[in-house]
């Protein structure tokens, strides 16, 4: 990571590609949460990383890159939303900035963190979590879809949820001790 930050700060375009691979998902999630429209969100993501590259030399390498990128993404998304909301868009009158309402700074940071935690999962666990939470599939349906044993689906889901609970502990209800049993079981099994 240190080497990536050095390359990034040096303005190496390949480092931007690596940073995009690492944080592009989380930035996309924040952009989508704020602007909604997928095409506008894609534009926001594009602008975010281009702005980040321009400002890379000012990035303090002793700090975490994620909050820095997040701040750029949020600001860029709100600017894009504001531009889209101008009442005189396409007209001849003066353009006036409209106030925009969006999710709070803390809420979109939370969304960024959740996406980052999901992206940090091993791919085989991430697929199971995605099919379950986004696809709405039960464990037997996931097993059939992926052509793997039901037990494998359950163990991957178990591991994934433990990782997510650990990574996102600060967003979850206060615990008493130890890791939570967040599996909840498969309602269909």
């Amino acid at each position: 990571m240190d080497q990536l930050l050095d390359r990034f700060r040096a303005g190496d375009p390949e480092a931007v590609r690596d940073v995009y691979q690492r944080y592009g998902g989380a930035v996309t999630t924040v952009a989508r949460s704020i602007v909604g429209d997928p095409e506008l969100a894609a534009e926001v993501v594009q602008q975010t990383f281009t702005k980040a590259w321009r400002a890379a030399s000012s990035f303090d390498r002793n700090r975490d890159l994620a909050p820095w990128l997040y701040s750029i993404a949020r600001r860029t998304a709100i600017d894009a939303l504001r531009a889209e909301s101008r009442p005189t868009r396409g007209g001849h009158g003066p353009e006036v900035d409209q106030p925009v309402t969006t999710l709070s700074f803390e809420r979109t940071w939370e969304i960024f963190e959740v996406r980052q935690a999901v992206d940090d999962l091993p791919i085989e666990e991430r697929v199971v979590v995605q099919l379950s939470h986004f696809g709405g599939l039960t464990h037997p349906e996931i097993a059939e879809r992926l052509n793997i044993a039901l037990g494998t689906v359950k163990s991957r889901s178990h591991r994934a949820h433990r990782r997510l609970a650990a990574a996102l502990a600060h967003l979850l209800p206060a615990n008493q001790d130890g890791l939570p049993d967040v599996l909840g079981g498969d309602p269909s099994s």
């Binding site: 999901v118 609970a165 979850l172 209800p173 890791l179 967040v182």
Partner: protein, 205 residues
């Protein structure tokens, strides 16, 4: 208003409510928005364009006296340009140029072949490196394209995974930067070349 990031440390929760809370967090459809390869390509194009523009901006300006020479120089340049176009047309559609990089005495066992392709967004360089020792912790290798006066980085690598094909990139053209070098850099040593060259080649050799 000062924006504060919530504390991201803290023990994991243990409560039946945790599963429901986690479900809530993961229920947001935006969490699952796919990463778009087209966006990555657009970002790289934007950066290439800005790098190119910045390089044009740093080209020398001419004084009134210099301008007397611009017409003949321009005529000669025009001839070179036409020749360049003719050569470009002649080689259009051909395979990427391959350049052998020779090892310096700092890495005598190393060798490399650079496959260079001019694209709309700049130079794409695939470096096939053999016999170059993995960079020691705290160091890394950096590729450059250069001319006699300056250089542009084309990316970094470390060889810790053994011999490899390394994909590098620069938003410049090969005619302006015909020399390819690989230097050994120290982490935290800044963006400039260390001058410790381990491999070197030239496009027009």
């Amino acid at each position: 208003m000062t924006e504060q990031f919530p504390n991201s440390s803290g023990p994991p929760a243990q409560d039946p409510q945790v599963a429901a809370a986690l479900d809530d967090l993961l229920a947001n459809k935006a969490i699952w928005a796919p990463l778009d390869d087209n966006v990555e390509a657009a970002i790289m194009r934007n950066i290439a364009a800005e790098v190119h523009e910045a390089q044009l901006d740093t080209e020398p300006t001419f004084t009134k006296r210099d301008r007397r020479y611009l017409i003949p120089v321009g005529a000669v340049a025009g001839l070179f340009l036409m020749a360049g176009i003719a050569i470009a047309l002649l080689f259009a559609g051909e395979d990427p140029t391959r350049v052998e990089l020779a090892a310096t005495e700092l890495a005598p066992a190393a060798s490399a072949v650079a496959e260079i392709e001019e694209t709309a967004s700049g130079l794409r360089v695939i470096l096939e490196v053999e016999g170059l020792a993995p960079a020691e912790p705290g160091t890394y290798y950096q590729g450059w394209v250069r001319n006699d006066t300056d250089g542009v980085t084309i990316g970094t690598f470390h060889m810790r995974g053994g011999d490899a094909d390394i994909k590098l990139w620069a938003g410049v053209n090969a005619e302006d930067y015909p020399i390819i070098t690989v230097t050994l850099q120290e982490e935290g040593g800044g963006p400039q070349s260390s001058g410790v060259v381990v491999l070197k080649g030239r496009l027009d050799s």
